[in-house]
Symmetry: C2
Subunit: 527 residues, 2 copies
């Protein structure tokens, strides 16, 4: 299938614009197939209008209908076959196993939401029956459930061209919730996006979902992106990317006549506290962490960018071993020239700060747009005094902070910003001693891990991917796992509503047999 480069305005392909962009091979600087036509104002406007009209139909679809729709999207993505994998590898410079894995994750995610919808209880149906005889006042019949919030705007991430992109977690959870989606394609993998959008539109048609349930447009964030977020039709925004990009959307959303939630996952430095008992076990620790720092060329928002330690006789050995491990890992091509340049610049700036010691840097030559694994160290006082050192450097870089004692460690943790993850390495008995700093770490992150590495985010019910600001704009929600659906719904209460007019989830007979809270008791029974 050849790439047409057009915008998906609902089910209709459209290319009225006169601006376009191509994607270039990072190694040869030759353009890949496909010229992507930026959407015009009118095209974006039409996509929004269609989405709004679709909403009033789509929101009334049953959970089962939406589940089958999501499964059809997953099937259509698999039907794209190797063409998708080849294009994604080319655009992202990520290796085949990673991309095949990411495709598996993407369709797995769609099917996970389908299974959530088939079970159905996630809507939190809650019923308090009427008490007409109650004194001094009778109680009305009150029934509440989560209902879709409206049209959702999704911005593709660059580092997960499938799983956090066109049919990624934001789109899957919004569609599952009953919200139409408008995706702004990322300029670094627009071919991948086009293939995925084609699959989604096939599914829209096969599943008889209304035209406008899904749209995807090309163009820059400043024009197309801004136009979407500022439009009153849009009720929520999903974004994964840089702090700068996320905060721009957040500000735009708050300037609107009606402010809307922006769910921006903006990354973090993911502090890893390596307690003395773990430092002692230096061989294992060094290879485990060198591997986590460099996996995927460090291009994960859960990359361990900060290692917290306490000075003791074993720390020097651990530092030496960690440097050696880092030295022997080959640099690899990054996602794009832009990302590689930002990595080099950020690293150079960090290493030039007062009090920073370069511990190790890969000594293997590789490609041009490489991310060179690097580890540095700093003492706690210098770290605390210099906020520059608290910033994320997106790539295979980590900074080891040496604290004098538990007290200083506690001060270091107190000055950390919000994080996606925090990790504690050590023996269980030792952790009791560090209970307060662990509690303080927990209070600063969305996920706290024990004796593991933060890279690798499981897609499941129990995942929390998000965290206190600036890791994410809203710590109360996750962008990974079934909980992600909560971002795009709001509770609506129906008072004394005739049974025939109630959503199935709230009807007397509980036709979906979902778990509900009825008169303060959890039950699947009918009334």
């Amino acid at each position: 299938m050849s790439l047409h480069g057009k915008n998906f305005i609902g089910n209709v392909l459209s290319s009225n614009g006169n601006q376009s962009s191509k994607i270039y091979d990072i190694n040869t600087n030759e353009p890949f197939e496909g010229e992507f036509i930026h959407a015009t104002k009118e095209e974006v406007e039409l996509a929004l209008k269609k989405a709004n009209e679709a909403f009033f139909i789509y929101k009334e679809s049953s959970q089962l209908q939406r589940a089958e729709f999501l499964e059809t999207i997953a099937d259509e993505i698999m039907n794209l076959g190797d063409e998708l994998v080849v294009r994604t590898i080319a655009e992202s410079n990520l290796p085949r196993p990673r991309i095949e894995g990411e495709r598996g994750r993407t369709v797995g995610q769609l099917r996970m939401f389908a299974s959530l919808l088939k079970e159905g209880s996630w809507v939190e149906a809650t019923i308090d029956e009427a008490l007409p005889e109650r004194k001094p006042l009778p109680r009305n019949d009150l029934r509440k459930m989560l209902r879709p919030i409206g049209v959702v705007s999704v911005f593709e991430a660059s580092n997960f061209p499938l799983a956090f992109a066109c049919a990624g977690g934001d789109t899957a959870s919004a569609l599952a919730a009953g919200c139409p989606v408008i995706v702004k394609a990322h300029s670094s993998h627009s071919g991948t996006s086009e293939l995925i959008a084609t699959a989604i539109i096939k599914a829209v048609k096969k599943s008889n979902m209304p035209d406008g349930t899904f749209s995807m447009v090309h163009g820059s964030g400043r024009t197309v992106g801004q136009q979407i977020v500022l439009n009153e039709i849009v009720k929520a925004v999903g974004f994964t990317g840089s702090t700068q990009g996320g905060m721009k959307l957040f500000e735009l959303a708050n300037q609107r006549k009606t402010p809307i939630p922006v769910f921006a996952e903006m990354g973090s430095i993911n502090p890893c506290l390596i307690l003395p008992s773990a430092v002692k076990n230096s061989d294992n620790m060094a290879s485990l962490y060198a591997s986590s720092i460099t996996v995927g060329v460090g291009q994960f928002c859960t990359n361990p960018g900060l290692i917290l330690t306490i000075k003791d006789e074993n720390l020097e050995i651990f530092k030496e071993k960690l440097s050696k491990e880092i030295n022997k890992i080959a640099p690899a091509t990054m996602l794009s020239h832009g990302i590689q340049e930002a990595y080099e610049k950020g690293k150079k700036e960090a290493l030039s700060q007062k009090g920073i010691t370069l511990l190790g840097e890969s000594n293997i030559k590789n490609t041009k747009a490489e991310g060179r694994p690097t580890i540095a160290s700093v003492d706690a006082k210098t770290f605390m005094e210099n906020p520059k050192l608290h910033e994320e450097i997106f790539g295979p870089y980590s900074l080891l902070v040496e604290c004098e004692d538990l007290k200083e460690l506690s001060l270091v943790i107190d000055c950390l910003e919000g994080q996606l993850t925090a990790t504690v390495m050590g023996e269980e008995t030792e952790m009791i001693k560090y209970k307060e700093v662990i509690s303080s770490l927990e209070n600063r992150c969305g996920r706290i891990l024990f004796n593991g590495v933060p890279t690798g985010v499981e897609v499941c019910h129990s995942m929390q991917h998000g965290g206190p600001f600036p890791a994410a704009t809203d710590s109360r929600f996750t962008s990974v796992g079934t909980g992600a659906i909560r971002r795009f719904v709001r509770p609506v209460c129906f008072q004394d509503c005739p049974n025939s007019l109630l959503p199935n989830e709230l009807k007397d007979e509980n036709p979906l047999k979902i778990l509900r809270i009825v008169n303060e008791k959890y039950t699947r029974e009918s009334l």
Copy 2:
């Protein structure tokens, strides 16, 4: 007990400031007992510091401990006896049955949260056990639950001096969640607030909660309020009041280094769609609505400020009967001079708009600071063209909009802003015909009612009090009912955490016997 007028800086009374305010009898202009000393910068700072220190202890309290604490607050409020009721009546000009009822609601609310905590399942404990053998990658043990967000700032409302004030729904839900609270007292009922704060502090001491779990300060929103909201220690804000006040807090919160959620419930005009079959039943409808428009001198955020009708042969009769009902209801004293003046001004401005007809106005003389029941009408076109007519007029006023037909009604609903409630009156068979406009109303409100009146907000599991902007700043949360606790918690995921370090809610043995989702199944079993 005589009123000291001091600030509650945690458990310590403090009055270092040189500014103060008194509260005046609306009828005699004589001051009531008590001079309320505004908190100084240093006092506010200390309250914040204490709250932050208390948080790390309080967040680790068990649900049962917090339940008993809330029950003790309720008991201590009842122990204040009639002194509280007398003072609240004096400060609010609300009648005794209303204030006694509101006290009942306030302690009922505290006990409701206590019972929620004793049951315990609201934390949404979710467990996905490790799958060490899974291919291609093993799964870690992942456990998630809702954890307290941090220190919460509460702004008292003027119209509910007990239920939306010092120990009202915001405070009760934040304390239930595990968050320390700092209340800014409302200047119109500071004596009531002092009595309640005294009761809370007694409960803090009796329950051995840390000093700083609760503070209350006097002072203006511009100084004391702003200082609290801008302080990085505060993690969320609860507010009920005017659009202007709520939006000021919302803007401040978004200007911070770390933006925080502001839950501002800012009222609405609560459209009531009276379908032809209900209009026909004009006697009942007229008395029901006249009563809802004027109850509590119209000082409810759920007051029916907008009545939507379709022209037919019965509408003139209904209008006439509604006017007659309104004419014979006596004006009554409003909460304060300020509120009464705003009501008069707003009403005068509304009635002077082009195309507005005054249908009826109470013809009974009463006190000076009275709210005079008033009903006006307008045709749909004029209403749609003039946004001035969509604004809330806080008091016993309502505007009846006459639409030509279903199509025009639909256009009117399309141009309405977000609402706390929407109401549909009519026969069930008729509602089927109006299904689309009802769906559109539902999409614009937090609670949709059938054949009732929006005034009267039940405190229960199924209540949703909130709605799309500008009714509230965040439609995804409620400020009334058990759901209110969700505002002050965030999910935290524990990965491979040793059982001994897990919160009780997530431990293998499920000691609290709460309902959890374990490996995708709802269960109260241990692992």
